[in-house]
C-alpha cells in the first residue's frame, strides 16, 4: 500500500510507479481494481474555510465527516448531500472528500441544488505522468482556462489523482419538513414529484420508495428553510398537489432528517446482492420500469423526481432472472452481470444510462454503460494524454 503524505510525495509515487495503481480514498465505494493500492488518506486537512465566502478547501484525503463537522459549526453544509456508501455496500473505512469528488457523488438535494460537480470550484491533482496540475481556484465565478476540475469530477481517478479540492458550500436550512404520499405506483408518483418540482416552492428532495423493501412505497417531498417559510410552503404545496390525494406532513425535523438520510444512503438496498443506478429523463422512468418489469424481477426506487433510478435485486430475484436468461450456472456473479447487461439494453431505449454499483462476487471492472463510439474514442484519447502508461485505475472507465 502506497500512502503519500504530500502532493509532492504523490507525484513522486506516480512518476516512479512500475505497474497499475488502484486509487483509494477511504475505500468505501467498492471500486477496487487490479493494482498496487495508492491511498490518499495521508493527505488530510482543511486548508482554508471562509464561511463568509461560502468556500472550503481541503486535501483530498480529508474525511467527509471532518468537513461536515467543520461546516456544521458555522451552520453551513455540502449542499449536494454526498451519499455515504457504507450502509449499502457493507464497506468500512472513512469516506474522503477526494473520493466524493472523484466519483461525483451527490444525494437527494441534487435535484434542486445541483451535483457535487456543480459545487466544485477547483482542484489540484497529479496526472499519470506525475505532473502536478492546478485548475480552477477558490472563487465562485471562474472561466480562466479550461474546466479540468469538472473533467476530473466523476473520472474515478482515471485521469489523475486529486490532491486538493475546493468547494462552494451553502447555509444550512434552519428547519425541514417532509410531505408523504402513500398508495402510489410509479405512474402516479413521478407526475406527483415532477409537478411539485415545477412549483416555485423550492422542493429540495423528491424520493419514491419504501425504507424496507417489504413495505409499500411512498413518495416523499422535502421542504427546507425557516420555520415560517416551511410551514407556508407546506400549505401551498398541498394545495398545488391536491389532485394526488391526501398526504401527511412530517414537520419534526429529526424525523424528516432521518427519511432523507435513508434516501441518501439507500439503506433499503443494503440486503441486496445486486444494485444498479440509472440516470434517466425523469418523466421516462415509469415507462422504463414498466418495460423492465415485464421480463425481469427487480426492486426499484426513485430519487431526483424520477431522474435517478435505484434498482436492486434480492437473491431470489437474481435466481428468478437467471431462469429467464436460461442460465445453467450456479455462479451468482454471472447472474449479476447478465442482469446488468439486460437492464442496460432497456436503458438504451431511453435517454439515459446505467451504472453497476454492487454485484456480489463479481470481479468485472466494467461498471459503466458504454457510450457512443465518438465519446468512447474521445475518452480513450484523453486517458492516453493524461495517463499514457495506463496505470491509474486502469479499466475502470473503459
Amino acid at each position: 500500500m502506497l500512502t503519500p503524505s504530500s502532493e509532492d510525495d504523490l507525484a513522486e509515487v506516480i512518476a516512479t510507479a512500475d505497474g497499475p495503481l488502484c486509487i483509494k480514498g477511504g475505500g468505501t465505494r467498492g471500486l477496487a481494481v487490479e493494482g498496487t493500492p495508492l491511498c490518499t488518506s495521508g493527505m488530510t486537512g482543511i486548508t482554508l474555510y471562509e464561511p463568509g465566502a461560502l468556500t472550503i478547501v481541503a486535501k483530498a484525503g480529508t474525511p467527509v465527516s471532518e468537513i461536515e463537522a467543520t461546516l456544521d459549526a458555522e451552520d453551513q453544509m455540502l449542499a449536494f448531500e454526498p451519499m455515504d456508501h457504507r450502509p449499502m455496500l457493507g464497506t468500512s473505512g472513512e469516506p474522503t472528500i477526494g473520493g466524493v469528488v472523484a466519483t461525483n457523488t451527490s444525494g437527494p438535494r441534487r435535484v434542486q441544488a445541483g451535483a457535487c460537480r456543480d459545487f466544485l470550484l477547483g482542484t489540484r491533482l497529479v496526472d499519470g505522468t506525475g505532473a502536478i496540475v492546478k485548475n480552477g481556484g477558490r472563487v465562485m465565478k471562474n472561466v480562466t482556462g479550461y474546466d479540468l476540475s469538472r473533467l476530473m469530477c466523476g473520472a474515478h481517478g482515471t485521469l489523475g489523482v486529486l490532491s486538493e479540492v475546493s468547494l462552494k458550500v451553502l447555509p444550512k436550512p434552519e428547519t425541514e419538513a417532509t410531505l408523504i404520499y402513500t398508495d402510489l405506483n410509479p405512474d402516479q408518483a413521478v407526475p406527483l414529484m415532477l409537478t411539485a418540482l415545477g412549483t416555485p416552492f423550492d422542493v429540495s428532495g423528491a424520493h419514491f420508495g419504501p425504507f424496507h423493501y417489504r413495505e409499500p412505497r411512498k413518495a416523499y417531498l422535502r421542504l427546507e428553510g425557516t420555520e415560517a417559510s416551511v410551514q407556508y410552503r407546506i400549505q401551498q404545496l398541498k394545495a398545488a398537489l391536491s389532485e394526488f390525494g391526501e398526504c401527511h406532513a412530517e414537520s419534526d425535523p429529526a424525523k424528516s432528517g432521518e427519511i432523507w438520510r435513508n434516501a441518501r444512503d439507500m439503506t433499503a438496498l443494503s440486503e441486496m446482492p445486486f444494485v444498479a443506478r440509472g440516470s434517466i429523463k425523469p418523466s421516462a422512468s415509469p415507462e422504463f420500469l414498466s418495460c423492465v418489469s415485464q421480463t425481469l424481477a427487480t426492486t426499484d426506487y426513485l430519487d431526483w423526481g424520477g431522474g435517478l433510478i435505484w434498482m436492486g435485486a434480492t437473491d431470489s430475484q437474481l435466481r428468478e432472472n437467471a431462469e429467464h436468461f436460461a442460465l445453467e450456472s450456479k455462479e451468482q456473479s454471472l447472474f449479476s452481470e447478465e442482469l446488468f447487461g439486460a437492464l442496460s439494453e432497456y436503458m438504451r431505449y431511453e435517454d439515459g444510462h446505467l451504472r453497476l454499483v454492487k454485484a456480489a462476487g463479481s470481479t468485472n471492472q466494467s461498471r459503466f454503460q458504454e457510450e457512443s463510439a465518438a465519446l468512447t474514442g474521445l475518452a480513450k484519447a484523453l486517458r492516453q494524454k493524461y495517463d499514457p502508461r495506463g496505470i491509474l485505475n486502469s479499466g475502470l472507465m473503459g
Binding site: G145, R150, K172, P200, S283, L375, M397
Partner: protein, 482 residues
C-alpha cells in the same frame, strides 16, 4: 495584441475554399466579399479588428458539419461566433480564417415542463430562451448583462454568468446536453434530459472552452419555475471596507440572496447624471435582492437590514412596490451604458474571494492613480466577481496602451488576492498573455492536452486562451500539416 501571421497559402486558396463552401451551403450563407466580411471583423472588444477570409452562416447541424469537414480538409482555421458580444475578443478573426456564425440557428426545438428543460439551437439569444417559456411561468437562470443580444452558443463557450448566479449558478450549472460538431465534422451528442453524465463530464469541459473544442449547435438547458416574487433593498455605506464586511456578514448569516450588486462613488455619480435613479451619494452602494412569497421576502429582508444596520449605513431604502423596486435596479442596469456615454472604457472581470474585496478595491484605486486613469467599480459582490471599468480616451495616442497596462496590473492583483483573471467574460485574446500569472506551464499544458484530443490540428479558434508562445508548437504543426 499580437495575432499569428495569416498563412499566405491559405489566402491564395480563397477562391477554391469559397467554391467548396458554396457546394454545401445556399448562396446567401457564404460571405466572401471584402466589404461584407468587414461586419465580422471584431466582437465586443472593438479595439482589435481583422476581417476574415470568409463568413459562413449555416442553418442546420448538417451544414455546420459540412463546413467543418471542408475547413478541416483544407487546413483552414475556423472562428466560431455566437452574436459577437464577447468582451474578450473570443470571436476575433484572423485574415486566413473562416468565421462560422450560428445566428441563423435560433429555433426552440423542444420545451418540456415536466422535466424542466428546453432544447434550443444555440444561435438563439439568451433572453429569448426565457421569452419562449415565461408565459408558462418558467425562466432560464443565467442572465449576462448582454442577454438581449448574446447567443446561447457564446454563453456555453464562455460559461457566462450574470447577476443572479449567487443562487442559480452559471451556464455550466444549467446545461444538461449538447449537440457538438468536432473540427473533422463528426457530430457528437452529449447528455440530454437526464442529470448525471454517463462517464466523463464532457459538458463540464466543453462549457467555457471558448469555441476551441467544437461548435455547439444545439443545447438542452435546465429551466426553473419563476419565484413567487422578488424584491431588492438598497444599502449605502461611506466606505468600501464596511460594504465588503456587510456582504460577508449577510452570506454568513444564512440568508442566500439571489443577487448582491455593488457600485462605487464614481459609478453612482455617473449613473445619477444619466438615469436619475435617486441614489444616495456615498462611497459604496449595495443592492441586495431576495425571492419568495411576500412574507418570505419580508423575513429575509428583515435579517439583511438588521445586519446592514450593525455596520452604520448611510441609508437603507426599501422598495414598497414594483415601481420602487424598478427604480432601485434602474441605476445598476444602466451603469454600463452611462459609463460608455462619458468615456471609452475597458471592462475587466477578475474575481476575488469576497473577503478580499475591500483590499482589492483599495489597491485598484491606488493603481488607477499611479497610471493616471479613472476606474469605476460596479459588480456582483456576492460572488466576488469584480468589474472595474477603466476609463480612457481612444482618440488620445497611448491611452489604450496605458489602460491595458493598468488592466493587467489589476488582474494580477486579483490573482494575488486568491482569485482569477476572468469570472465570466472569458480569456479570448484579451487575457491570453496573462495566463502565466495564474497558471504554471504544466497547468496550461494539461489544458492544451484537451484541445489536442478534440481538435488535434488546432484549427478551431487557435490563437485564443493560451499565450501564443505556449501554443506555438502546436499551431505550427497544424500549419505544416496544411
Amino acid at each position: 495584441m499580437e495575432m499569428p501571421r495569416p498563412s499566405p497559402e491559405i489566402l491564395a486558396r480563397k477562391a477554391r475554399l469559397v467554391s467548396r463552401l458554396l457546394d454545401v451551403l445556399p448562396e446567401d450563407a457564404v460571405i466572401s466579399d471584402e466589404a461584407e466580411t468587414r461586419a465580422y471583423e471584431c466582437d465586443g472588444l472593438t479595439a482589435y479588428t481583422c476581417p476574415p477570409l470568409s463568413v459562413v452562416l449555416p442553418s442546420t447541424t448538417k451544414e455546420v458539419s459540412d463546413i467543418l469537414s471542408i475547413c478541416h480538409a483544407e487546413g483552414v482555421p475556423v472562428v466560431p461566433r455566437g452574436s459577437g458580444t464577447s468582451l474578450a475578443g473570443g470571436a476575433l478573426p484572423t485574415a486566413d480564417s473562416v468565421v462560422l456564425g450560428v445566428s441563423r440557428m435560433n429555433d426552440v426545438l423542444e420545451t418540456n415542463y415536466d422535466d424542466r428543460i428546453i432544447r434550443v439551437q444555440t444561435g438563439r439569444t439568451n433572453l429569448s430562451v426565457t421569452g419562449a417559456i415565461e408565459d408558462d411561468g418558467f425562466f432560464y437562470a443565467p442572465d449576462p448583462s448582454s442577454q438581449l443580444a448574446c447567443a446561447i452558443a457564446g454563453n456555453i463557450a464562455m460559461n457566462s454568468g450574470g447577476a443572479h448566479c449567487l443562487k442559480y449558478g452559471v451556464t455550466t450549472n444549467n446545461l444538461l446536453g449538447v449537440t457538438i460538431v468536432l473540427m473533422d465534422g463528426t457530430v457528437v451528442e452529449i447528455g440530454g434530459a437526464h442529470m448525471d453524465s454517463c462517464s466523463y463530464d464532457w459538458l463540464g469541459v466543453i462549457c467555457g472552452s471558448e469555441g476551441q473544442l467544437g461548435v455547439v449547435t444545439e443545447a438542452t438547458l435546465r429551466i426553473l419555475p419563476k419565484p413567487e416574487g422578488a424584491r431588492p433593498v438598497l444599502i449605502g455605506y461611506d466606505s468600501a471596507e464596511v460594504a465588503g464586511a456587510c456582504v460577508s456578514d449577510i452570506i454568513k448569516a444564512g440568508v442566500l440572496p439571489v443577487a448582491i450588486e455593488y457600485m462605487d462613488r464614481k459609478v453612482i455619480e455617473v449613473v445619477e447624471a444619466h438615469a436619475k435613479a435617486g441614489y444616495p451619494q456615498c462611497e459604496a452602494l449595495l443592492i441586495v435582492e431576495v425571492e419568495g412569497s411576500p412574507e418570505e421576502i419580508d423575513e429575509q429582508l428583515g435579517v439583511i437590514k438588521q445586519i446592514a444596520r450593525t455596520h452604520n449605513p448611510v441609508e437603507i431604502r426599501d422598495a414598497s412596490d414594483a415601481d420602487e423596486a424598478a427604480r432601485i435596479w434602474l441605476g445598476r442596469k444602466s451603469a454600463f451604458g452611462a459609463m460608455g456615454q462619458i468615456n471609452d472604457y475597458m471592462c475587466l472581470d477578475g474575481t476575488v474571494p469576497v473577503s478580499a474585496l475591500p483590499y482589492v478595491l483599495k489597491r485598484t484605486g491606488e493603481l488607477a492613480e499611479e497610471f493616471g486613469l479613472e476606474v469605476g467599480n460596479v459588480f456582483h459582490a456576492g460572488d466576488g466577481n469584480m468589474h472595474p471599468l477603466i476609463l480612457f480616451d481612444a482618440n488620445k495616442p497611448g491611452d489604450l496602451e496605458t489602460c491595458e497596462a493598468l488592466g493587467a496590473e489589476i488582474l494580477k492583483l486579483c490573482v494575488e488576492a486568491g482569485g482569477c483573471l476572468t469570472g465570466e467574460h472569458g480569456v479570448g485574446i484579451e487575457k491570453r498573455d496573462l495566463m502565466g500569472v495564474q497558471f504554471t506551464p504544466q497547468d496550461l499544458e494539461a489544458q492544451m492536452k484537451v484541445k489536442d484530443v478534440f481538435d488535434p490540428a488546432w484549427l478551431l479558434n487557435p490563437a485564443k486562451v493560451f499565450p501564443l508562445e505556449s501554443s506555438a508548437s502546436r499551431r505550427e504543426r497544424m500549419k505544416s500539416a496544411a
